[in-house]
């Protein structure tokens, strides 16, 4: 799985919320264009906080590990049986 992260340039308003929230400093501001850029995609941990906080919905991730909704996962529910 090779995570990819992209910013839709026409949607980005350069608010820098993604820069502020990212714990691994994936983004950088292009001062001239007033746009946020993906500078270090390899550092992305796919926490998705940037995507959730972006007011323009301009950030998208592909090929990342989405957390298990384990209470809906039949196999996991069976394994959790011993705790219930």
């Amino acid at each position: 799985m090779s995570l990819e992260i992209a910013i839709h340039e026409q949607s980005c308003r350069g608010c820098e919320l993604c820069i502020d929230i990212c714990p691994t400093k994936v983004f950088e501001l292009d001062e001239e264009k007033r746009l946020c850029l993906v500078k270090h995609a390899e550092d992305c941990i796919a926490c998705l906080s940037c995507a959730y906080i972006c007011p323009s919905n301009a950030i998208s991730h592909t090929d990342y590990h989405a957390v298990k909704n384990f209470y809906r996962d039949a196999e996991f529910c069976q394994r959790m049986g011993k705790f219930l």
């Binding site: 691994t24 550092d43 796919a46 957390v67 909704n69 384990f70 209470y71 529910c77 705790f83």
Partner: protein, 164 residues
């Protein structure tokens, strides 16, 4: 128990867990963190009983991960380094440091299910679990700082204190 009933029971247990955490935090404030921390320490010590002793932090993390897997705990983690870090393990002022990414986490799922905020008392249980397990496996004190609590993953800094 049938799977459908297990699902319902699990959801109830999660809501109950979130409610207890929320209620405890409201009633006794930050002391709720200490209670969860100590519960995590006890759990970490109990589950890591008999695990081979090592002073190598990567071996200790592998052993801790195996303890979680063997007990069906959805608390799996992976060491992580950013592009500007030379090594996963670093020596800091307070001790040996490793950044950890937690993806699937039953605590996070429980909190979201209940509409509860992250970084609360339940998250301290994980801190306690590591402190207890690493105390058994490495014989050293440690801390697990929440650097970032995200919707799909959390980023934490593990510091294993040097032997005095």
């Amino acid at each position: 128990m049938e799977t459908g009933n297990q699902r319902l029971a699990l959801q109830d247990a999660m809501v109950f867990l979130g409610a207890i955490a929320s209620g405890t935090e409201q009633a006794i404030g930050e002391s709720a963190n200490s209670i969860s921390y100590l519960a995590g320490v006890n759990l970490g010590k109990k589950l890591s009983e008999g695990v081979a002793h090592t002073r190598d932090i990567q071996e200790a993390l592998d052993a801790t991960r195996k303890v979680l897997e063997n007990n069906d705990y959805l608390w799996l983690f992976e060491p992580f380094k950013t592009h500007d870090q030379e090594n996963i393990v670093r020596e800091g002022d307070e001790g040996t440091e490793v950044m950890l990414v937690f993806r699937d986490c039953m605590i996070r799922q429980s909190l979201f299910r209940f509409g509860h905020t992250q970084k609360g008392s339940l998250c301290n249980m994980m801190y306690g679990f590591f402190a207890g397990a690493l105390q058994n496996i490495m014989g050293l004190q440690s801390s697990l700082e929440i650097v970032h609590a995200g919707e799909n993953a959390c980023y934490k800094k593990l510091i294993v204190r040097r032997a005095s």
